[in-house]
Symmetry: C2
Subunit: 385 residues, 2 copies
């Protein structure tokens, strides 16, 4: 690293530290480090084709009509109004739907209100699942091993949970940051054998990128919840629909838990644009088009991962999400590689040096547009040649 690179690295690192266990947002990065030109944001985990689709509707229905003015000026509908729409769309009792200002609000609500003494979290993981825990909650980590490709082994996991007797556990499926996927039959087996755990949280924020076979049918377990009243589904809309800036998420909870939350808050927690998005999400015309871009993106992501696998001196872990966890095996650190990617190639990847439960040097790289993926591949080839 030369002196100017080192100075930039130090400046970036400061922003990183102030962002805690997360990456500085693109907005923050642009405002604070205008000297960096970001060509590809591979930190951000989102389907860009879905963003395009949303923007097409947004332009036609809100901008061209002037309706955007009302969306910005007036109060949005209340939580239960939007839950009614989403519930009908998902064919799930609307009284079980809790609408959140992004999945992080949903996670916070569940962790603060329904998780009690002991919570089991698999690591590596999405940090809010442990950082949001209140002081009275003991967080017990179940460590996924890189030797096993971060796979959840149902027998071992069930034995661990049984031994620890938690009141709550979290499974992110596919998992963040490794993309590891628990197949449908295995997750059902885990849920059935652990039916005595009061609060089982299944985070399906990346489920739209997963599949069981080449039909690419959405493998969500949401429709089975009537059989498992202790299962709580968390769902971000930011990734699959490419609209992180709008802040949309929801949970499927036991109806009495939704009532509990709404009785003491969460009054107008969706913005006007979030309400527009949720209304769109429940429309057939939109969903038909969305299914096309979902499948297109999965297919492109498969090509991306296949090519990544051919690059020497890195290990690419198996993924069914829209990102890959990459282990650096050429002796360089993830700090060095992430900085090189950012400063020399304009590629913003996630340096995983702060992720607990990762032993080694890891970066996480999101899949993007075909052309962007190709640029990431050629840049990594260049670095690891």
């Amino acid at each position: 690293m030369n002196a100017s690179s080192a100075a930039l690295f130090e400046k970036f690192n400061k922003l990183k530290i102030s962002a805690g266990n997360h990456s500085p947002s693109l907005t923050t990065l642009k405002a604070e480090m205008p000297e960096i030109e970001i060509k590809v944001d591979a930190c951000f985990l989102s389907n860009p084709y879905a963003t395009e689709l949303f923007l097409k509707y947004f332009k036609k229905e809100l901008l061209d009509t002037g309706e955007i003015n009302n969306v910005l000026e007036f109060y949005p509908s209340q939580n239960n109004e939007i839950a009614n729409l989403v519930g009908r769309h998902l064919q799930i009792d609307p009284s079980r739907i809790f609408i959140g200002n992004g999945a992080t609000e949903v996670i916070q609500a569940i962790i603060h209100h329904f998780v009690k003494d002991k919570l089991i979290v698999n690591i590596p993981t999405f940090s809010p699942y442990y950082s949001f825990a209140l002081p009275g909650t003991e967080v017990v980590y179940y460590e996924l091993k890189k030797e096993d490709n971060f796979r959840v082994d149902p027998d071992d996991y069930i034995a661990f949970v049984t031994k620890n007797k938690p009141d709550s556990l979290v499974l992110i499926n596919p998992n963040n940051p490794d993309g590891g996927y628990i197949p449908h039959q295995e997750i059902i087996r885990i849920i059935e054998e652990l039916s005595w755990v009061p609060t089982i949280i299944i985070d399906e924020s990346f489920i739209h990128f997963a599949f069981e076979n080449s039909s690419l049918k959405l493998p969500s377990i949401a429709s089975l919840l009537d059989k498992y009243p202790n299962v709580h589904i968390v769902k971000s809309m930011s990734k699959d629909f490419g609209i992180a800036g709008i802040r949309c998420g929801y949970a499927i909870l036991p109806a009495e838990k939704v009532t509990h939350l709404l009785n003491t808050g969460y009054l107008w927690n969706s913005s006007g644009l979030a309400e527009y998005f949720f209304r769109l999400y429940t429309r057939k015309d939109f969903i038909v088009e969305y299914e096309e871009v979902r499948k297109k993106y999965i297919t492109e992501s498969l090509f991306f991962v296949t090519e990544l696998n051919r690059i020497p001196k890195i290990k690419v872990y198996p993924t069914k999400a829209n990102f890959v966890l990459v282990e650096i095996l050429n002796g360089q650190t993830s700090d060095e590689i992430a900085t090189e990617l950012l400063l020399n190639y304009g590629i913003y990847a996630r340096n995983c040096s702060d992720k607990i439960g990762l032993h080694g040097q890891f970066i996480r790289v999101a899949t993007r547009y075909k052309e962007e993926n190709e640029y990431i591949i050629s840049s990594l080839r260049d670095i690891f040649k």
Copy 2:
């Protein structure tokens, strides 16, 4: 009321009941009751001139440049990043600023985390201050009397609080739904004499419409907070800036309370548009223009209230907010008058029949554009002729 009016009234009432202690949003109303043509939304409490100003910037800076796409697609900055901007703008230590997804989120955070055994709330009031209270909190009501024009009498209030020994109290200034204003010197006296109350919440959501004299200078007490570490300021941006659909609010809290909140949540609780608004709010060019529309709106509101006062068979209570509480004295109920305004005149006013602490028949009417105000006046003259 004829049969078709009665049917509409019943339909509207159902929506009202499902909205709890609030009014159905305009979006919900339009979706569920397309047969009603709303000409003036006088339920909604917002400066329409400020909305116009915001939309001018929004169009120029986000739409015309295409930057809106990034605002919708990417994650916004974290809470503390936005707090830094707002703190610098307000010349208040940024570590004391807590950014919320609308003031209702701020109120929820304070009520859930910092209010303990006993909370004193003045009634009539904005319902979240009591409905968000957790089961362990006793809410004690201090009733403002219509005979006193809902004025807070400092001596009587201080005596009441001293007798009840709460850990928390709320003063909304100006108050909602009556618009009653506690002058600067009186609120400072109350704060000083009640310095032993651990959590004093001052809600200044309507302070931009208040004034001490004809200079119309903003009478906020925010700049004095260093002297009063137990005072917590709540601030909605929806009303003064006319952007309720974006969901923006903040609190000024002791720094350790902000840290407490951010350590266990509130990660990405501002949307991309909320971040854009907060950045705008801290810019001098915007604020110079905003001050003009703020003063213009106050002046128009003064004319509106003056004219309202001349209508017979109603009593208009003194207000320094952007709305008036109107008592109906012709023997009709607020249900009847609100329905007549909505169905016959297309005016959506707030029927206050569900507001606790109001004894009599009351509607709340917001001030809007000059022409809309004139239409409200002529419609009320017509009804009460």
